[in-house]
């Protein structure tokens, strides 16, 4: 076996679901402009976010400022799940992510790629997962996440 495809007893998407949860892909859109944009909805109950990748598809401008991500529940207190990092001039093809740890910054610190969570995930309450920028400018990003429902009937949708 030289192609790295394994023996095929669980195909790649089943394997992803079985090990990380349900995948949800959000097509590339322009960055928020000095404020927050909802990128995913959490519906029907709590979920465990198990992975998060934001991929830069169009070069970020030089004055977009800092990027962060927030859990905004319909009831309860908003939680910043990745604190702000300056992303000016982030090139297409670079990725951003989060560690899952309370109070930790968006990763990577400058440019490049992102590791997986350092926790078993982030619990998200019913509400929205929001993307915040402190400045204005060009740039686009797509998102790929995986999650596990924690309550009966809980799921996530693309906003």
């Amino acid at each position: 076996m030289t192609t790295g495809t394994g023996r095929g007893w669980v195909n790649q998407f089943q394997l992803q679901t079985l090990t990380m949860g349900i995948p949800l892909l959000r097509a590339a859109t322009t960055l928020p402009q000095t404020g927050a944009v909802t990128i995913f909805n959490i519906v029907g109950g709590r979920v465990l976010l198990t992975s998060f990748i934001g991929e830069c598809t169009v070069l970020v401008g030089g004055a977009n400022g800092s990027m962060s991500f927030e859990e905004t529940p319909t009831a309860g207190t908003m939680e910043i799940i990745a604190t702000a990092v300056v992303v000016n001039n982030l090139p297409a093809g670079d990725q951003v992510g989060m560690t899952g740890i309370d109070g930790a910054a968006l990763v990577p610190a400058a440019a490049g790629n992102t590791p997986g969570f350092q926790t078993m995930g982030r619990v998200l309450r019913i509400g929205t997962l929001d993307w915040r920028m402190t400045g204005n400018g060009a740039g686009e990003m797509s998102f790929a996440i995986t999650y596990i429902p924690l309550d009966d009937g809980a799921y996530m949708t693309i906003a």
Binding site: N11, F13, T17, I22, P73, A75, D102, R122, V123, L150
Partner: protein, 156 residues
């Protein structure tokens, strides 16, 4: 032919990845001492996630923590104390899995999953401790994996 690539859905997926879910009805918080939340019966289990949902704002309950209190052996504090009077209704409580780390979040908001691959619990009880007495209610949910034949958790 369209293939169903997600052959395991929803709560089945939760069970496969986190283990068995156990929901404790909302109740008053511990009053200047411990309150058993869950029983561990028949053998060791690994708790993979615990969520405390604040359903009624806590009064001056002081510091809060969680403890593994086995019927045989030494009590283990599962997290360091946190001042619990700061949380809002519908905020969540959790632990990192590292005993020296305080309960999360530090003040208000949501929670991460554990930074460890769970916490082993011995036969006995999982207790909540508060250093003072006051009002407030929490609804607790745990997910766990039995580590021995016949091991399970139940609501205390």
């Amino acid at each position: 032919m369209v293939m169903d690539l997600n052959y395991m859905h929803g709560m089945g997926l939760s069970t496969a990845l986190l283990g068995i879910r156990l929901v404790r009805p909302t109740s008053n918080v511990a009053q200047t001492g411990v309150l058993p939340l869950f029983n561990i019966v028949g053998g060791n289990v690994r708790m993979t996630l615990i969520i405390g949902h604040i359903t009624t704002v806590l009064g001056a309950v002081g510091n809060m923590s969680l403890e593994d209190t086995p019927t045989t052996g030494t009590m283990e504090v599962l997290c360091a104390v946190v001042a619990a009077g700061t949380y809002a209704q519908d905020d969540l409580l959790g632990i990192t899995g590292i005993p020296a780390n305080a309960m999360v979040p530090a003040a208000t908001g949501g929670i991460p999953g554990m930074t460890t691959r769970g916490v082993n619990l011995r036969v006995g009880t999982l207790n909540q401790r508060c250093s003072a007495s006051s009002t407030g209610q929490i609804q607790w949910t745990v997910w766990y994996i039995p580590l021995e034949v016949g091991a399970y958790m139940s609501v205390a």
